[in-house]
């Protein structure tokens, strides 16, 4: 039984696949895998409500980490980057006991993943870790 009530989301060329995993200490963490191309004109309207839902359910249920797997994502436009920046912004304004961390999985062979995701993690170095695989 999943802790959070989140389903997958598909829109145009992209699918966000949600799952939950358990870390070495037995703590449940959320996981979101990005598949396809995020290249629509206005990703906010489709993805912001979904992200807000994950965000609030995580802080309500005390889930302390989300893993974002970008490796299967071929392309992310600048509007998609803005979406991610807004997510980080939401994490930063939560009180410390309600907040959670983010672990970004990126493919070091893909230029934008290496470049852009690294910089995203610098926006909140205490909360975001990046793993270049």
């Amino acid at each position: 039984m999943a802790v959070l009530n989140i389903t997958d989301l598909s829109y145009e060329n992209i699918t966000l696949a949600y799952s939950e995993q358990t870390d070495d200490d037995g703590a449940v963490f959320a996981s979101l895998q990005f598949n396809g191309d995020m290249d629509m004109q206005d990703p906010d309207s489709v993805f912001m409500p979904y992200i807000q839902d994950i965000h609030s359910q995580m802080s309500q249920n005390g889930i302390k980490k989300i893993q974002l797997d970008f490796r299967p994502l071929r392309f992310l436009n600048s509007s998609g980057i803005k979406l991610m920046v807004k997510w980080v912004q939401m994490m930063l304004i939560l009180p410390p006991d309600k907040t959670y961390s983010m672990e970004i999985l990126a493919n070091s062979a893909v230029a934008w993943q290496d470049n852009c995701l690294k910089l995203l993690s610098l926006l909140a170095p205490k909360l975001i870790k990046i793993k270049l695989l």
């Binding site: 060329n13 191309d37 290249d39 629509m40 004109q41 206005d42 906010d44 392309f75 436009n77 600048s78 509007s79 980057i81 803005k82 920046v85 807004k86 980080v88 912004q89 062979a109 893909v110 230029a111 934008w112 470049n115 852009c116 910089l119 995203l120 610098l122 926006l123």
Partner: protein
């Protein structure tokens, strides 16, 4: 029609109707074309990403139909020039020139960080991250040329100035 007489090592030009759905197709074509031309997948990715960002702009800020993208590789100095053209309004052209001036100043990474923080605060749908991202990822030179309502945005990539594979 002028064919490619000047014997550049790789040249392509596409004119297409400004419809969002074509951007992905053109980006993928450009990626393939550039992999063949410059023989480096990672660099081809960076340049086709930049082309995609420019095409998004050319469609978002167009005042009338018509978008042209051209791409020219020069073997002698290992540079690649990407040009995207569209028609636009004086208001957008003004912002465009200002933004290119802003983005071209200072360290590309610092500028991009600054733009990301500004983008997070905006509520109007715009994000103004595109040019900053291009410059950060490719260390390229961005310029704009305006002739009446015709806008040409040019990016000059020095292929030795950014990381490849």
């Amino acid at each position: 029609m002028e064919l490619n007489r000047n014997k550049d090592a790789g040249y392509v030009e596409l004119v297409f109707g400004p419809r969002w759905v074509y951007i992905a197709t053109v980006r993928k074509f450009l990626q393939n074309f550039l992999s063949v031309t410059i023989g480096n997948n990672k660099k081809a990715d960076v340049i086709s990403m930049a082309g995609s960002e420019l095409l998004e702009n050319a469609i978002k800020y167009a005042s009338e139909e018509g978008t042209k993208i051209s791409c020219r590789y020069r073997e002698e100095d290992n540079t690649l020039t990407l040009i995207v053209q569209n028609f636009s309004s004086p208001e957008n052209i003004k912002v465009l020139k200002e933004q290119i001036d802003i983005v071209n100043t200072g360290n590309p990474e610092e500028m991009y960080m600054k733009k990301m923080m500004e983008a997070a605060m905006r509520e109007d749908g715009g994000s103004q991250l595109g040019f900053a991202r291009i410059r950060y990822e490719s260390n390229s030179e961005i310029s704009v040329d305006v002739d009446g309502d015709l806008v040409s945005v040019t990016i000059l990539f020095r292929l030795d100035a950014f990381e490849g594979d």
